[in-house]
């Protein structure tokens, strides 16, 4: 599990995260939600030691992220950032191949190739594997970056808005496959999603951040309801139940509640 205790973060004097403590359980999908600027990406990059911790402590299965050797951590935890680009000119297969670097340090074995194959397969990238990244559409590129992170084959996978740019089919497919991977191999995914209904349908746990603080944490039913969403997003959202999951009708303003 990932234990975050008393984490605070400031950038240029402005408080970005404020005494955040929470535990992300091992196995399953945890969704991180909250308005723009709530601090979701900041929290993920602190967990993944991309940004040095200023205050507090974060451990991944007991390993402190600031003191654990970075290459050992890379075999335990991987991260997809919100905005991805690489300067180098790479093919999809090469990019995904880099996901294996923490394991082979430059000399890929047949086993590494097999993991790359599997990740390409999982993201439906086989027909595109020889293409250069700058020859792909936005959604195709997004899938390539997700495939790279999946090829890293870590117990913990942090995905910052993995559904960015994806069409409906690929968005649903990705969530289904992550759920499946969590079920079959016990992996833990921490996912930032803006479409609350994906969180409601696929997450085991939802964590809501607001203004750099932990707002609330609970099952989809506990978080995806009208009062809670109104509090987190400052938006009135009608919530129905569809197929056993709460389903937020966030695209349209709801009928005002009838005063009694």
């Amino acid at each position: 599990m990932i234990e975050i205790s008393h984490v605070s973060h400031q950038i240029a004097g402005a408080s970005i995260l404020n005494d955040v403590s929470l535990t992300i359980p091992r196995g399953g999908i945890t969704a991180l939600i909250g308005p723009n600027g709530a601090g979701k990406s900041t929290l993920l990059s602190l967990i993944a030691r991309l940004t040095p911790l200023q205050g507090g402590q974060i451990t991944v299965d007991g390993a402190d992220v600031t003191t654990t050797p970075t290459d050992a951590l890379a075999r335990r935890l991987s991260i997809l950032r919100q905005d991805n680009s690489v300067a180098a000119r790479l093919t999809v297969a090469d990019l995904v191949g880099f996901g294996r670097y923490p394991h082979h340090k430059g000399r890929p074995s047949p086993e590494d190739h097999a993991y790359v194959e599997q990740a390409l397969e999982m993201m439906g990238l086989h027909p595109l594997s020889g293409r250069f990244l700058d020859e792909l559409s936005g959604g195709q590129r997004q899938r390539a970056f997700v495939a790279m992170v999946l090829a890293q084959d870590t117990d913990y996978v942090l995905l910052d808005e993995p559904l960015n740019n994806l069409d409906m089919k690929h968005a649903r497919q990705m969530m289904e496959r992550l759920k499946e991977a969590a079920r079959v191999s016990g992996k833990s995914f921490v996912i930032v999603v803006h479409d609350i209904n994906f969180a409601a349908a696929y997450a085991d746990l939802i964590v809501a951040l607001k203004d750099g603080r932990l707002h609330s944490l609970g099952t989809p039913e506990e978080i995806v309801n009208r009062p809670c969403l109104r509090d987190v997003f400052e938006l009135d959202i009608a919530v129905e139940t569809v197929g056993g999951h709460p389903f937020a009708l966030h695209q349209i303003a709801p009928e005002p509640l009838v005063e009694s």
Binding site: T70, A74, S78, V86, R89, A93, D94, G106, R107
Partner: protein, 331 residues
């Protein structure tokens, strides 16, 4: 958990595709070397000409390697393919260090020091400066490339002006000592420093070989590299340390050449698209050797011209730079 097949992956075939261009480049480089050694040697003067030219040849090859390598390391470390150490004023920094030394100690004193010791200490100072300066510039979160281009040009101008300024304050007699270093001159390689330059450059080879995969990861950018477990700061230090050393070596041997690195490295990127650090480095070094050695052979021994090659090369490189800027700086 992974499934079976490995055959369909593009890795082996990509390697095969790289062999042919590399072999062709190697053959061309050999031809350039042969031309340089043999063109226009008067009958009966073989022994003298060969021994004289061999030293110069070694110098040119060293410069070719140093410029190609430092440029490519710089590109990997800074996530851009437009700026190069010399565009960022690295060579001017070296000249500034050199001029300051003459200014501080007086030309006579600098002449008294063993040139090896002097050179080695200049290289050390340069490595220190370059790591400090560029770690400060580049380890921060990814910066806007246009801003970096601007900063680089300002730095380059600053270093050049400072070293000019210092050299004005130097006694005219002492100025002669540094003046020679300020202009590129492929026809007059500084042979005195050849051995120590070979030694210093040789130091980078095992490091380059050992870290070649790490430079591939470095080129993915800071966050991705750290996510893949790269010891980012250490690799950046190694990269900028070597850049400082290699720029010192090439500037000491032939003087500053602004756009040459950009030219050869971009040709290599074109010839081996999407290739890894090591094969690309091989290609860019070979291209640099072909251009420098071959060009110098034709200039000196066929056209009988002296010292104008650097102008031609810089003009070509400058056009490349403009082309890349106009094409749109995506990276």
């Amino acid at each position: 958990m992974p499934s079976d097949s490995t055959a369909s992956l593009p890795f082996p075939s990509q390697r095969a595709m790289q062999v042919k261009p590399l072999v062709i480049l190697a053959v061309l480089a050999l031809v350039a070397v042969a031309l340089f050694l043999t063109l226009g040697v008067p009958a009966g003067a073989w022994e003298f000409a060969l021994s004289f030219r061999a030293g110069k040849l070694a110098g040119l090859i060293l410069v070719a390697f140093a410029i190609a390598t430092s440029t490519q390391l710089f590109h990997a470390a800074t996530r851009n393919q437009i700026l190069t150490p010399s565009i960022m004023g690295f060579d001017a920094l070296y000249l500034m260090i050199q001029t300051s030394l003459v200014f501080g100690m007086g030309a006579m004193a600098t002449l008294d020091i063993d040139p090896m010791v002097k050179f080695a200490s200049e290289v050390l100072v340069m490595m220190g400066f370059s790591t400090a300066l560029f770690l400060w510039l580049f380890t921060a979160r990814s910066r806007d490339l246009h801003l970096l281009v601007l900063v680089g040009i300002i730095f380059g101008t600053l270093f050049r002006s400072l070293s000019n300024f210092i050299s004005r304050m130097i006694d005219p007699n002492e100025f002669v000592v540094v003046q020679g270093a300020m202009f590129a001159r492929f026809n007059a390689v500084n042979i005195d420093l050849l051995w120590i330059s070979i030694g210093l450059t040789a130091l980078t080879l095992p490091v380059l070989w050992h870290m070649r995969h790490q430079f591939d990861v470095l080129a993915l950018g800071r966050e991705t590299a750290i996510g893949l477990g790269l010891r980012y700061r250490r690799v950046m230090f190694a990269a900028f340390g070597m850049i400082g050393l290699l720029v010192s070596v090439s500037t000491a041997l032939v003087g500053p050449v602004t756009f040459f690195g950009l030219l050869v490295v971009h040709l290599a990127y074109r010839i081996l698209p999407g290739a890894r650090f090591a094969p690309t480095l091989l290609a860019s070094s070979l291209i640099a050797i072909i251009t420098l050695v071959g060009g110098q052979a034709i200039y000196e021994h066929v056209l009988g011209l002296q010292g104008t090659l650097s102008v031609v090369i810089d003009a070509l490189g400058g056009i490349t730079f403009l082309y890349l800027l106009l094409k749109g700086v995506r990276r």
